[in-house]
Symmetry: C2
Subunit: 527 residues, 2 copies
């Protein structure tokens, strides 16, 4: 009978006493092999080919604008058709006076007229390995700044735990790591494997456990300065906080997602944001495009022809037609089902198969930056209330006012809860939830906006919920061109809610397009 | 015989099955009890008392300037005497043309003349719970921004591990947590306690282990997206990195300090810095002081008199005397040993008992921000080379050039290694170390500065190394005034290398001073 707590075999496998795997490991990771999502492609576009120069770009979000920008520079005649009154798509920032185009609830952002008081209802974070968006920001001179995403001074709040009181993340994490590492320490200390661990392995493992959790010399956990001081610390010696109750911690639910939140590469510190609002990215692209970008131009039908694509659209109430040689289409695929076309059945089946995902955000203008008095200078408080999260701005430190993200619902169900409310009620609701975390929270609210992506005109959702089977079945199909028509957008990337996916889809389509052009021009040179 | 790996008693203690402690815990932490280093004192200074209004402040660092600022506002006649050619003390920023006043190596900072290219050889980080420094920054309108301190994309580098190649922190941490949590999982899974765990506790513990390390459903660790992708991720499905070798990880030394670096409250994300350079804090204080701040004014003797303190100083070569009613002295205590005075023996013993600590930094102007091409936008690479750390700037993202901290030695021994070199050799040395981490590192170096605090005139060290015995013996004594002479500075706080300690010492002295003034004026009212 195996009396070990973890099998000796697996431990040896892990600790790899033989050392051989170390050697393999070391030789396989020469410097420079530390790559991630692949380098940005050099878009050495061929220029206008024999197949015509007229390009229709449908949708003026990140993907559409990127294609327009690149093809214009390669010499094409580009027209961008955008259904909304504004460009940018989900790349949106709300400021004083901006229209919030929610179905049935058109309204205007009532923030103060101050460039510092803005809200990003869509994209708000850029990680350092999203090479394409970073490449374009650099190229176009769009200023970026660090955005504090994780803050140890922010709270975790669970209505049914810790007396319903918010707990500093510093404390929560210090204790979680402490208790855990004590358990680990004991497990290693008793050394009950079939064959005992080598003295050296055991020593290192014990030290490892100690350092992870900041244990006492005897391997027990009795609190740590990591949790923050209860009092003192500068003029008086600091007093550690008492440890939380492990049972209480274990029963709480924050850790179920917290470790992933911290370690997820998409949220890897430091994150960045565009200075002054994320929409400076789409605006920065648009500023460098001289071709017409028509807003209020909703595409209503698409016909592939022998030599291109005929696009019928409604521009400010007038029906128009654009006969293009090529078409790049970022219209949300769930809308494509309703847009008459002559595409083959399997292509259309892809459109019908997907289901839009959904998100919801509220931004509140607060008349005082009360969170800074609590030592919070950015980052996120997590709560089990329906608002999910509170984000504190990390720009504009110490100014009078600030805009706080006061609800962030994920997915269709969570979003629907808020969508059913009136805009006023959403703000009241978020205020009441905030009161359970910060005393007086709702009394600081001066103005507020809510953006339910599932009810925003020309959007009615955000990204796609793929099942693995559907992904397998329709993904390749949707990314391959149909005649001279390309689908683009984050919707056809493996990251349906990251701008990097939109940029990557544009790059992918442009490279494929260029291959066609080069092949054609080779043929026409021969002919 | 106890066959458990961790004793049932301690486990129950940890998991607290009784639940009683939860209740205690919950009631003891009402909202608002989440305090840390105590609130900033309301400095409601009494104003000039019967004991005279002439104040001598010795040293124009953070502590001295704070005292001068507050007492001037309370109506006192303040003179600040500063030995150096500049104010600020260790609060220093180097820019184009600045003098580096190193003993025997006076030289000028050769960075480009560009406000973005600066280096903070002293303080560089402010955490959100340092309430005093944040209070003054807010009050004086000194702009702050987030400083990325931890970056998952930065590296850990150990010459004798992982083939000497740098390893991304994301990967290192993901695997460390993964392997560790697998061990924890097994320990709990086998459930070999005297009495078995309750079904519920066991289930939660298993889930806990899984979530900490992102384990497979069976509790084994086989890599995670947290480590970053090997390739793909947007247009192609992402491929996880292969896990590191656990033995290699365990033998490496980064984790011995890494977990503390991350969880230490003093480095709690998000950290902040003054926009444009940390010396904007001392400059911001000085700008609001109308009283004379004499530079090149070195204090040479101190005599307590019946009614105050006589300060003899050398001002630009001239011997002068200032007869003050009160004196606030931030001169490094290791200099006080050499400054003739008539203080009692035990006070002087305190000066002699302390030993200055030491630090050393190098800042290099790089002609390209090559680190951004590696996905690094701030944060720190740790290495076991003598340079210890490389810091990447998180301001000025995507500009052409940037200043990188290229060595940060801690303590006297590490610093001495660099102090012995010529300024040119230090830079060459740092460049060679950098080459082991970033290909071509030294080829980007355009200019460089090194600041050995132990050799900087009027400083010759930084902070104090206290032994617990000496702290016990001399600490209180040094903080109590001697007649009308107060010692101030971070040197008498429990955080000898944090500006918050300097601010706290000023606050402490001012409150004590105010108590005296109030007592005196009560006496004189009566008299
Ligand atoms: C709540 C939320 C949070 C997010 N967070 C982040 C983040 O932190 N970081 C990040 O990088 N990304 C984030 N994203 C994702 C990011 O917004 C998207 O990946 C990106 O903006 C998608 O760009 P796109 O061009 O592919 O699509 P879209 O921006 O959706 O563009 C499609 C365009 O087509 C237009 N259109 C619709 N119908 C028609 C029609 N019939 N005719 C003409 N035009 C039409 C639409 O008006 C729209 O402008 C977030 C998104 C949301 C909603
Ligand atoms: C490498 C390094 C890193 C640091 N990092 C941080 C950080 O990230 N965050 C942070 O908050 N803090 C940091 N600190 C600590 C911070 O710099 C100090 O806590 C703070 O600046 C101390 O201020 P002070 O007024 O107490 O002393 P000082 O600044 O040392 O002031 C003493 C003054 O006395 C003057 N003087 C000396 N002799 C005489 C004399 N005979 N007559 C007259 N004047 C004299 C000196 O020139 C000096 O100006 C760091 C320090 C160093 C060196």
């Amino acid at each position: 009978m195996d009396t070990s707590n973890l099998s000796r075999r697996r431990f040896l496998e892990l600790v790899g006493a033989a050392g051989g795997s170390t050697a393999i490991y070391q030789t396989s990771r020469a410097m420079g092999l530390l790559q991630d999502t692949g380098p940005v492609a050099k878009l050495d576009l061929q220029g206008v080919g024999a197949a015509g120069k007229k390009i229709a770009v449908l949708g003026a979000g990140i993907a559409g604008l990127t294609v327009a920008y690149e093809l214009e520079r390669a010499g094409y005649e580009v027209t961008v058709l955008e259904a909304s009154h504004r460009i940018g798509g989900r790349n949106m920032t709300l400021r004083h006076g901006d229209l919030i185009d929610e179905m049935g609830h058109n309204r205007v952002c009532n923030f103060d007229d101050d460039p510092d008081l803005y809200f990003n209802p869509g994209p708000a974070r850029i990680p350092g390995h999203h090479k394409r968006i970073l490449h374009y920001c650099k190229k176009l001179g769009i200023e970026l700044q660090v955005k504090a995403n994780f803050a140890r001074h922010a709270y975790t709040h669970e209505s049914g735990h810790f007396g319903g009181n918010p707990v500093r993340k510093s404390e929560y994490f210090a204790d979680a790591q402490g208790f855990m590492s004590e358990l680990l320490y004991k497990a290693v200390d008793k050394n009950r494997f079939d064959e005992p661990l080598s003295v050296e392995d055991r020593e290192r493992m014990l030290l490892f456990a100690k350092r992870i959790g900041d244990l006492q010399p005897d391997g027990t956990y009795h609190g740590t300065a990591r949790a923050g001081y209860e009092s003192g610390g500068f003029i008086k010696p600091g007093t550690h906080k008492k440890t939380m109750d492990f049972s209480a911690l274990l029963q709480s639910r924050h850790w179920e997602s917290a470790f992933d939140n911290i370690h997820n590469p998409e949220w890897a510190e430091p994150l960045m944001e565009a200075v002054g609002g994320m929409d400076n990215i789409s605006k920065g692209l648009a500023k460098r495009i001289r071709s017409p970008i028509l807003t209020n131009a909703q595409v209503q039908s698409l016909q592939n022809t022998e030599t291109g694509v005929d696009v019928v659209y409604n521009h400010n109430g007038e029906r128009k037609k654009l006969s293009a040689d090529w078409c790049f289409n970022s219209i949300p695929v769930h809308f494509m089902v309703g847009i008459p076309n002559n595409f083959p059945k399997d292509y259309n089946e892809g459109f019908a198969a997907v289901r839009p995902d959904n998100f919801f955000k509220i931004g509140l203008q607060m008349k005082e930056r009360f969170w800074e008095r609590e030592g919070i200078y950015g980052g996120i408080t997590h709560t089990d209330q329906k608002i999910n999260q509170i984000w504190y701005p990390s720009h504009g430190i110490h100014r009078q006012k600030g805009v706080v993200l006061s609800a962030y619902a994920f997915g269709r169900e969570q979003s629907a809860f808020f969508e059913r409310m009136s805009p006023e009620d959403r703000i009241k609701y978020a205020g009441a939830c905030g009161d359970n975390i910060h005393a007086g929270y709702s009394s600081y609210i001066e103005a507020g906006v809510s953006v339910p992506w599932g009810r925003m005109n020309h959007m009615m959702g955000c990204g796609i919920v793929w099942t693995p089977e559907k992904m397998e079945k329709y993904y390749k199909r949707m990314r391959a061109p149909e005649g001279r028509h390309y689908m683009i957008g984050d919707q056809i990337s493996y990251h349906p809610t990251w701008q990097e996916g939109a940029f990557a889809s544009a790059e992918y389509a442009l490279l494929d397009f260029d291959k066609h052009i080069r092949a054609e021009s080779a043929v026409s040179r021969k002919g």
